[in-house]
Symmetry: D2
């Protein structure tokens, strides 16, 4: 299978290249970069130099996609990942689809169903809203069947992956107390901020420091509400706050839900066990065990811990993922597996790098 | 002024010694350690070796307090800090008081007014509940006047300091929506776990990792509820979750409150500005500015940021402190200042060590 | 192929289990732990819970090896890794060999050829010196041919791996100036200190801190001298200092050599290019490029950078490895590959986890 | 005393402001920034907002120094610190001196006595070499007497401070073996790289990573050679390599010296004890004790550990400093104390912030 990555120099691109190196019978035949076009991929990412398939890859100019296909159609990718910035994918996806390749988009550009949400949350008007309805939200646990036949997969955001998996069973079951709001407190490693230097992500501003950011209005919020409301068959109300942790990778989300009609932790546990009983990439912790980001580093797993504060009728769900893997590249590769009819875990690394 | 520290080898003791070195006309005449009695203080804490007043100090056995006083009454401390483990202060405080010295206790042993709460939250029966009523909860912003005449100050816990200061104005003003629960999500550096080695706090289990702990039932919870209910003149309901951040110092608490009758962020801001207008150690961030733990490292400041999610009627308060300073030693020194009639900021370091 | 790990609860054991999960047709049929015997492996290492082959493994008591073999001879490992503490392998290796399995020992117990060196550097008398001569020092670049037929492989220490690979070409070529001493300055992540809690490896004593340790007399020193002298056909004199870096994994070694008869950096570069031209796991950086530990994290690569200080006739070699992978488990798996006649890179991960 | 800082927005400027806040009777009356002129100082550095003297300070344009003095001569600083980039101080120092203020320059622009060294090591021609002879190298241990009367102090570099203090006694005593080269291996926290974002200093490229940089040719090298040769009364030959540690602050330097005529560690120790017996800011560790950067964080101390590898006749000196304090701002304040006739330790913080 031939695949390509548009935007290969960032951390998401790097993580995709790591994942794809482990996928059998897979060849990366296209990598692009606007800024580094013409240069060798491994000059930007020396950590890839040990994989033979990457040693000679040259970064191409994404503006020349059509010419590249024309020149060597046989090597043009069947599936292309978009690992670019938000807003850049809107222009790229239609071009790639027109070239006959499928698209797995890792930006937020096709995740929301209602185009009106883009100006509010992303601060731009959507340029091709006609694609929103055909884009499939690529969370396999929710939309596996639709992904199979998708031409355009909107790979979920890192935060929403951790939040939706934490809340899906509760929302579907209808146990959230009427009139209350779910509080979602997420903590992410710094790689989520990308590889572009800025004062906010230099070492001395992050290390030994902890802070929230975008306390109100983070663009991942509507994606959570959309998918959870879909599950609940009614509007789900939540308030989301992201924080920056002085570590490279990992997201830990603590979700607070005021519940109704809950008899105890065991009832909650059964609901989750049932919901996830056939899911290969969701692991429920045993009672009292607390998920840790290091246990999922470098993998596609989402570990969930369930807790119940009886005094206050509050269910707390703790979910951890690797923001670059389950939150981006590996989930994208699982989507590739699904839409290409391969085993869902083909090439997927099952053991974390710990410590 | 002569002061002493019982339990000088832990991080709280070390932090106290750093603070007291900066306090004019203050002599530490007693430091104790059960395990290291007889040894030099600076052998345990080489970082103190540059301060002349500590170079010759020998760690004493806390069992011999009475003999130490008998031998050299003139050098016995007027005020003694208890920087020991929970449960150990119950036995020590009465002994120190009987020797005529005042006590500033940094454990939780005298913070709760109702003795019944100890078995539930601390898993022990209180041994001298008769002292609970005379102990003053040492949060100057709430109890300054009572601290002045206190013989026994119960220095607040690190988490409760960050939580109570975040919520005090809202609780007093009565803006919390009836029937809801405040969600309190705290993140702490590792020094809060003390200096005792255990699998949970070795470097490789913490670095590049993030996890919650004691998700339900942390012993600091009742202290928050007690003080906030006192302010609200009614029961305040909250659910608290602590997390471990891979950094040495600092607490960041994000508090989620469903409010009622709030017109907007400016109303909230005014309430906080008014409440803290004369407080030297609480700094309100300007609108949109987000508090960072690094800005308070090594100081007694609590920085507060206020946010309002209009869509959901949720007020989010972000509070940051240094868990060892404002959360323990420096707050204790401020209490020393208050009860000894000194300026409240005597010897208090006003500039953080950043980066 | 059936393999076993004696000492599976430490970080080396964990890293071996991660590596072996990626090796085709390999079954781990035995894991042991003195302290945790009887418990589930994934209870100690939840990060392994996603790999089906490990889910049901129970930790056995290493004292019962003979009984385990007797009971189920067909499942007994053909090769057993010893991932125990120094000194413990001396007693285990003969027992395993007597049971007919081959041994790959990750301790230092069989690395030195001269038994007299053990009391000086390891502070113990060797209990079975008769095995020292048959043990093969498992650095493939030096002893590949002997490893093929080995029954007992002494897997190199982490520091020596980084040092010997840095110096082998220079020593063989005889360019070290007579009468001088090579200075070897190594920096290691904390996982090298193991998973046993102690004051020296708790987070707050390591993070934001940097220190040397065992400044004179580190037990890895004679191993370096032994192998390099063997290559140089004469005594190689070196002085070694290890340091602790606040990070989990990685070793960076800077080696300083006063040289003679060197015309310039290009001469040195050619010598190294020639020496390593067929080596799959040594990567020479291009001129001026500096090796980074993050580029080899989770892999078996050793990246080398060569520098020449013309003013002082000093060659500086910078070598980086992952201390748990190339410095322990992955090198051990490569040794398994060699002695079992498999491809040397069978199951070996070729892409680092970065960032 | 009125002082000023040109270049107040970087980490050196911030560290100076922290130090000066602790100096009695000192007023900072001038802070400048080219980029942020017109803005409030505490907007850039919120960590300073708790110190009353800084709350109203406005960043001035350094191009307007003369006008500022003309307008309010009484408030113009008696001493001005230059905390700018290398090469920028050359133009500023003469201007400040012409305005009648003394200069403490924290760049390298006036540290070297021979102007010919600038093109080689700093890659620029010196613009005012006539000032090089009157500039005093501000290492108090070496040049205290000359600093007293200096108008222009060239504050030492961070690395050279750690190296010169490590080697001064040995060089003066003449124990370095003829024909050999001292190997100097330094490791620094990231704040030494400044506050300007670049790919090399973002969190994800530094954390969990370790690397050398400028392996040959670092511009601090000639400064070390100059001062040590001056002490040795003969050319001292050394080769220097800096490395980046994933931590904010601290330098640890390991220096390797092949010695002659040394009877043992006690001889070396006596030489150092004697050399530093009256020095308030150099602390010799007891035999076997290893210096740690965390013990000097936030202070002006240099801790030295002495080791002797008898097998190889190698003396290893380990020196640690805080790169921003002893390596920049606090040493600069001590120079201010000396040239203004104050006590050398006036306002100097004597206790590290640990952990």
């Amino acid at each position: 299978m031939k695949v390509g990555i548009i935007g290969a120099t960032g951390y998401t691109g790097l993580s995709l290249l790591r994942d794809l190196a482990g996928r059998p019978s897979t060849e990366v035949t296209l990598v692009t970069s606007r800024k580094e076009a013409g240069g060798k991929l491994i000059k930007i990412h020396p950590s890839l130099a040990g994989y033979p398939g990457y040693r000679e890859l040259i970064l191409e100019d994404p503006n020349l996609l059509e010419k590249i296909k024309e020149k060597e159609p046989a090597r043009f990718p069947e599936v292309i990942f978009l690992a670019v910035k938000h807003k850049a994918a809107m222009a790229l996806a239609p071009r790639v689809l027109n070239l006959g390749s499928k698209v797995i988009d890792l930006t937020g550009d096709f995740r929301l169903k209602e185009k009106e949400l883009y100006p509010k949350w992303y601060k731009f008007e959507h340029e091709c809203p006609e694609y929103l309805s055909q884009a499939i939200y690529g969370l396999p646990e929710l939309h596996r069947d639709k992904i199979k036949n998708a031409r355009l997969v909107a790979n979920p955001g890192c935060y929403p992956t951790s939040v939706i998996l934490a809340l899906a069973p509760l929302c579907q079951e209808g146990l959230i107390r009427q009139g209350t709001t779910i509080m979602v407190d997420s903590k992410s490693g710094v790689s989520g901020a990308g590889r572009e230097p800025s004062l906010g992500n230099i070492f001395c501003e992050v290390s030994e420091n902890f802070r929230a950011y975008k306390v109100v209005g983070h663009q991942h919020t509507p994606e959570m509400a959309q998918e959870l409301s879909f599950l609940a068959k009614g509007r789900i109300s939540l308030s989301f706050t992201p924080h920056l942790v002085p570590m490279n990778r990992g997201i830990c989300t603590t979700t607070y839900v005021l519940v109704q009609k809950v008899s105890g932790l065991s009832q909650i546990t059964e609901i989750y066990q049932d919901y996830y009983k056939n899911e290969p990439f969701v692991r429920l912790k045993e009672q009292g065990q607390i998920p840790e980001t290091l246990d999922v580093r470098g993998t596609n797993f989402c570990d969930l811990g369930l807790f119940y504060d009886e005094d206050e009728d509050v269910v707390k769900i703790i979910s951890v993922i690797d923001n670059l893997c389950r939150g981006a590249s590996t989930q994208a590769m699982v989507n590739l597996n699904i839409l290409s009819g391969a085993e869902e875990n083909l090439g997927v690394n099952l053991v974390a790098l710990r410590p």
